[in-house]
């Protein structure tokens, strides 16, 4: 089991006694050997599979213009479909704050039982979260956190700091015996806080390995195009290095393309998020990509589980608590050749 | 010398621009309460001088004294603070603001320092407009909805809204009808009676005689004569000073025999609702037909409709007996029509381009194969066409904007000459062309006619129409009221017709 990171336990303290850093307790680590093509979450255990009271869940997310966000929508939809006692009201995804507020208000007016919200901008949507809570609709806040704990009943999301930390630790372990090891970082969109958190975790982990030094960092924009462009520059800048951490597997497609174009294979690469193409490359093990740290989109399926449990007034199976926890930070597992099969079905395109 | 120092005294003003010495030691004295006229050809330095006076340009050397005190006019605002206002030829009004807002732009009457007092602004604007003889202009109307003449009044009201001691008027009568010119002169008289000085710039000598007290003539950036008496200096002397030659307002001789034969341009029942009524007209090769009429009589509209730039509501235009597709400039050009429009800069010229490209723009296909331009052939043809019209400088590669108004007009004519056009439509061909260059332009037009072109001429200057055209159509409110050979008409007769509309007696 993972150690609670400093980051998550701080949040746990902040949000009161009910907070539990559950790690991978609930989702994402059950064995899964099925090779079927349906979405990953279908075969994961629900909190309680037996049908109960009917629950209408409203789901509002941002525009799915990115593989990971698209996987969030897919996970939520197929998870809801699995339950005969759940009906899902899903809105057109939007990146426009005003539009998303309007969509959520519509869901409130429709009197859904529970809301699952992945805000385009967490801070900006706090008010509408509060409004739903005051209207007696419990809100499950997915990933991008609201400004106030009053605006949600339960937060579930990934651990950006932990992602960097685990990536750094993995790379540090791999390079333990390399003298003066050089590491570079291809970050995501630099004006997002989560990018800073990932970098912070990565740097903190590398501090534990005195022989490893981060020699360069460039920020791409989570797009294939920018990943290719920035990686090409990094490769030109650093004629020799031992490891690369790329924050995001989507931009990693571009990064791998640049590496291929430059004809380089003298280092190991660790990805981020958990795209299917990354899992496949890890499994084949014929390129530089050796591992990726998860930022699991299955969190959307878990959010549906939590929403259903909230709607039915149930707790979470496997825990002693009567109530659903107020906060749940997912574990960013490292997926490498040894355990990739287990995660293959959770990979997103 | 007067015991009191002059209101304004500029001495030894020089101003250079890259490659040009625009002002070369100009002196100018203006007394309070006088109308001081500035005369000079285009490029003589008038515009630069008034820009220095209004603070828009800083002189390289020279001193400016205002009421005996040396001053520096750092900016238009500084000049305005002293009491110098300028009404430019190109009106600088904001079309989407109301009359009152334009008049008070930049110095709105305010309460508590920032709240605009709209009512006060409107009231003071209304008072100003009344003083200017135009109480009918509503201060609340948008400036864009006003006529050009009304806009000029607004511009003047704006100048007067400051505590003004000296007003610079740059060609104020250019866009005005005779009665509006009368009103303008009345306003100038009122102003000078109050002790305000007026610096008046005009091409029209007769106006200067009527309104001016003294005349300063500029040539090539120098004041060749300062403070001449406006009324008594003979025209010949003034023109000689401006041009450095003795040029009369000469029109070329008409050919001995009137052209005969089939008309090249035939217009039948052409009309546009609200602009002009059914017009019949035919022009033979070699003939110049003039359209005389006031602003708003439909002159320019007729030309543009024949040309296809406006779509006729009725009637037909035929060239060599073939009807043109209405509303198609391209059809007109292909059939051999060419237009030299009224607003040369806005409607005819590509100001960033060379003379060559301005001349060749309508005949590009002649120098190109599969779209590929043979630039040697183009330059050669442009040079030949501009030489034929003695365009100066004799170098078609110079940018067109460096040319004088007259030579720019020649470039437009060269465009149609090169195109091989059969019918030339000339709208105010000498607007903005100085006196010395006009005679040359008249000669060019006549020569083109003699070579077989048909010319349809529009001008607001009656003597021009009478002097140049073979046959004249007099227009009044969109209707032809009289047609006669030019030699059977005189200026008074034509003015009577356009004012009264009475048919021939």
């Amino acid at each position: 089991m993972p150690e609670p990171t400093p980051f998550t336990s701080r949040r746990g303290l902040l949000f009161g006694a009910a907070a539990v850093s559950t790690g991978a307790l609930l989702v994402g680590c059950t064995s899964n050997d099925s090779k079927d093509e349906t979405s990953a979450s279908d075969n994961q255990p629900a909190a309680s599979d037996a049908p109960g009271k009917h629950v209408t869940i409203g789901f509002a997310g941002p525009q799915a213009d990115h593989g990971w966000l698209n996987a969030i929508n897919d996970n939520a939809k197929s998870r809801a479909k699995k339950y005969s006692d759940v009906s899902l009201e899903i809105t057109e995804g939007s990146n426009d704050t005003a539009q998303q507020i309007g969509q959520i208000e519509t869901l409130i007016n429709k009197k859904v039982d529970v809301l699952v919200v992945l805000p385009a901008d967490g801070k900006a949507l706090t008010q509408v979260g509060l409004k739903a809570m005051r209207a007696g609709i419990p809100v499950v806040n997915l990933d991008r956190i609201f400004n106030s704990p009053q605006a949600y009943r339960c937060w579930i999301g990934g651990d950006n700091y932990g992602m960097g930390l685990n990536a750094g630790t993995y790379i540090g372990e791999q390079l333990k015996d390399t003298k003066n090891a050089r590491v570079i970082e291809l970050a995501g969109l630099d004006n997002l806080e989560l990018t800073k958190q990932r970098t912070q975790g990565f740097d903190d982990a590398l501090k534990n390995y005195p022989n490893v030094k981060k020699v360069a960092r460039q920020a791409a924009e989570f797009t294939v195009e920018s990943g290719q462009a920035k990686m090409a520059q990094l490769l030109q800048a650093q004629s020799k290095f031992d490891a690369l951490w790329n924050h995001d597997d989507d931009q990693g497609v571009g990064a791998l393309r640049a590496i291929e174009q430059a004809g380089r294979d003298d280092f190991l690469m660790v990805g981020g998020a958990g795209a299917l193409s990354a899992f496949q490359a890890i499994k084949q093990d014929n390129g530089v990509l050796k591992a990726t740290v998860l930022y699991p989109p299955t969190m959307a399926a878990s959010a549906i589980d939590l929403a259903r449990a909230l709607g039915q007034g149930k707790g979470v199976g496997g825990l002693a608590e009567f109530e659903i926890p107020a906060s749940m930070t997912l574990y960013s597992a490292v997926v490498d050749k040894d355990n990739v099969d287990q995660y293959m079905s959770t990979g997103f395109r | 010398m007067a015991p009191e120092p002059p209101l304004l005294s500029m001495s030894g003003i020089t101003k250079s621009f890259p490659g040009v010495r625009a002002l070369d030691g100009v002196d100018l004295d203006v007394q309070a309460g006088e109308v001081h006229c500035l005369l000079g050809q285009n490029g003589a330095g008038k515009s630069t001088l008034i820009k220095v006076l209004s603070g828009a340009h800083q002189p390289d050397t020279g001193t400016i004294h205002w009421r005996g005190e040396p001053v520096t006019l750092r900016s238009p605002i500084a000049a305005m603070r002293l009491g110098i206002a300028t009404i430019y030829q190109e009106l600088d009004l904001v079309e989407h603001l109301s009359v009152a807002e334009n008049v008070h732009l930049g110095h709105e009457p305010t309460a508590a320092g920032f709240v605009v007092r709209g009512k006060a602004a409107k009231a003071s604007t209304a008072a100003l407009l009344k003083r200017l003889g135009h109480p009918e202009i509503d201060p609340a109307r948008l400036v864009g909805a006003l006529s050009a003449a009304q806009q000029q009044i607004v511009s003047m009201a704006r100048a007067l809204s400051h505590d003004v001691r000296l007003i610079v008027m740059d060609e104020p009568s250019a866009a005005l009808d005779p009665d509006e010119v009368d009103n303008l002169f009345r306003i100038v008289g009122d102003l000078t009676a109050d002790g305000v000085a007026v610096v008046y710039i005009s091409h029209r000598l007769e106006e200067i005689r009527r309104v001016g007290d003294r005349v300063t003539v500029l040539k090539d950036g120098r004041a060749v004569a300062g403070g001449l008496p406006a009324e008594s200096t003979p025209t010949r002397e003034v023109v000689a000073l401006m041009t450095g030659r003795n040029v009369e307002y000469v029109f070329p001789d008409r050919p001995a025999t009137q052209p005969q034969g089939t008309p090249v341009l035939e217009v039948q029942g052409l009309a546009r609702d609200g602009e002009f009524e059914a017009l019949d007209l035919s022009i033979q090769p070699g003939e110049i037909v003039g359209l005389a009429g006031l602003v708003g009589s439909g002159r320019s509209e007729i030309l543009e409709t024949i040309y296809g730039a406006r779509k006729a509501t009725a009637g037909q235009v035929r060239v060599d007996g073939r009807a043109l597709r209405p509303g198609s400039v391209r059809a007109a050009v292909r059939a051999g029509l060419g237009l030299a429009p009224e607003e040369r800069k806005a409607q005819a010229l590509l100001m960033l381009e060379s003379v060559t490209r301005n001349v060749s723009v309508s005949s590009m296909s002649r120098f190109s194969r599969a779209g590929w331009i043979d630039r040697g052939a183009e330059l050669g043809a442009a040079r030949a066409a501009t030489r034929e019209l003695s365009l100066r400088p004799d170098n078609p590669s110079v940018p067109i904007r460096t040319l004088s108004g007259g030579n720019q007009q020649k470039a437009v004519l060269a465009r149609w000459l090169l195109r091989g056009c059969r019918v030339l439509l000339l709208d105010e061909p000498t607007r903005g062309v100085d006196v010395g260059a006009r005679a040359e332009l008249y000669a060019v037009i006549r020569r083109l006619a003699d070579e077989g072109l048909a010319v349809l001429l529009v001008s607001s200057e009656v003597p021009e129409v009478l002097g140049l055209a073979d046959r004249v159509l007099v227009l009044r409110e969109g209707r032809v009221v009289h047609t006669a050979p030019a030699r059977e008409l005189d200026e008074h007769r034509v003015l009577d017709l356009v004012m009264e509309g009475s048919p021939a007696s």
């Binding site: 799915a64 213009d65 966000l69 698209n70 360069a216 960092r217 460039q218 924009e221 989570f222 797009t223 294939v224 195009e225 290719q228 462009a229 920035k230 090409a232 520059q233 030109q236 800048a237 004629s239 989507d250 497609v253 571009g254 393309r257 291929e260 174009q261 430059a262 795209a275 193409s277 | 890259p18 730039a309 400039v329 050009v333 292909r334 237009l339 806005a346 409607q347 005819a348 010229l349 590509l350 960033l352 381009e353 490209r357 190109s368 779209g371 590929w372 331009i373 043979d374 630039r375 040697g376 052939a377 330059l379 043809a381 040079r383 030949a384 400088p393 170098n395 590669s397 940018p399 195109r419």
Partner: protein, 339 residues
């Protein structure tokens, strides 16, 4: 950029062939000063790069890298230069690149292989340009609005086609063009396409009636109309041309990134406009320079390259990029006004 006047053919007898007059040289020198100042900026950048990172910057591979990275946006900028020269603007270039690149990389398209991808990319680009052109030239819409609408719809359509997923290209003949093995005499194929587009663009703008009409429409649309030019048809062609450039750029991007994604071409419109303006094309129309635009693109790409090589972060990069835009334009205006 030499200006050879081809010898006059038909009219040697009429026109005495005097030597080129000095004023002609003045006009030429003026244009040249603008280009020279851009080359100066580029030279300073190269100096900075060479001093700070001599080994990595002054390297054939780096030259190949910079030129490759410039190719995609460069081709877009050539099209944009035409549109701006005509007094228009095309805000939809980035979105068209995105739509072309995803349409050309759908599973269905990839079944048709290399030709299918190339054809689709170009046709989608031209199609979007056609819609832009019809709306602007014959629908009477302001270019800003029409292309803004195209921006929104093309991005939306691109998202719909991909469902937000990255479309990996599996056609090896396409992918191979982005590999080192495809370089001819050390020149990457992408750079060759960029060079060819640039040369053709320069010739069209400076040597053809199409270019003349473009400049005339931008300099004074009313004068162009009254001179007998079909202004509307010209506008239609210009947006078609811009769309075509976007389609070509999309194909280059597919080769470069080995995939199609709806986020492709992000903010290309701003980069292309900035490069054109820095190059000396008038935003108000009537004057355009392909040479300047391409130098503008190279300046931007070189800046990005130097920053990345020196491991400067994106905040510093953005600040410096803004400062360099202002500096380049100021330098140009000074040099242009003193001649």
């Amino acid at each position: 950029m030499t200006q050879h006047a081809s010898p006059p053919r038909d009219n040697t007898d009429k026109v005495p062939t005097v030597g080129q007059p000095p004023v002609w040289r003045g006009v030429f020198a003026r244009a040249d000063v603008r280009t020279l100042s851009l080359l100066g900026v580029l030279a300073v950048l190269i100096l900075i790069g060479g001093i700070t990172k001599p080994d990595e910057f002054l390297d054939t591979r780096n030259l190949q890298l910079v030129l490759t990275q410039a190719s995609v946006i460069g081709v877009v900028t050539v099209g944009m230069t035409f549109v701006i020269t005509s007094g228009g603007i095309d805000l939809s270039v980035g979105a068209i690149v995105a739509l072309s690149s995803v349409w050309a990389t759908t599973v269905a398209t990839q079944e048709y292989g290399f030709a299918g991808i190339l054809f689709t990319a170009v046709i989608v680009g031209v199609g979007c340009g056609l819609v832009n052109g019809l709306l602007i030239a014959y629908g009477g819409m302001v270019p800003f609005i029409a292309t803004l609408a195209m921006l929104a719809s093309a991005r939306g359509l691109a998202l719909q086609l991909t469902d937000g997923k990255t479309q990996i290209v599996t056609i090896t003949s396409v992918l191979d063009l982005g590999e080192r093995d495809a370089y001819v005499l050390g020149i990457p194929p992408l750079v060759m396409v960029f060079a060819v587009v640039t040369i053709i663009g320069w010739l069209i703008l400076n040597r053809t009636t199409f270019g003349r009409r473009t400049v005339a429409v931008g300099g004074n649309a009313e004068a162009a109309r009254l001179a007998g030019i079909d202004v509307r048809r010209q506008r239609l062609y210009l947006y078609l041309l811009s769309g075509l450039c976007c389609g070509i750029a999309a194909f280059l991007l597919i080769i470069l990134a080995g995939s199609g994604q709806n986020t492709n071409g992000n903010l290309y419109e701003l980069d292309a406009i900035a490069a054109a303006i820095i190059g000396g094309t008038l935003l108000s129309g009537g004057r355009g320079t392909i040479t300047g635009s391409v130098l503008g693109v190279l300046i931007f790409t070189t800046i990005t390259n130097i920053f990345a090589l020196n491991n400067l972060q994106s905040d510093v990069q953005q600040i410096a990029k803004g400062a360099i835009i202002v500096a380049a334009v100021l330098v140009q205006r000074r040099t242009a006004s003193t001649t």
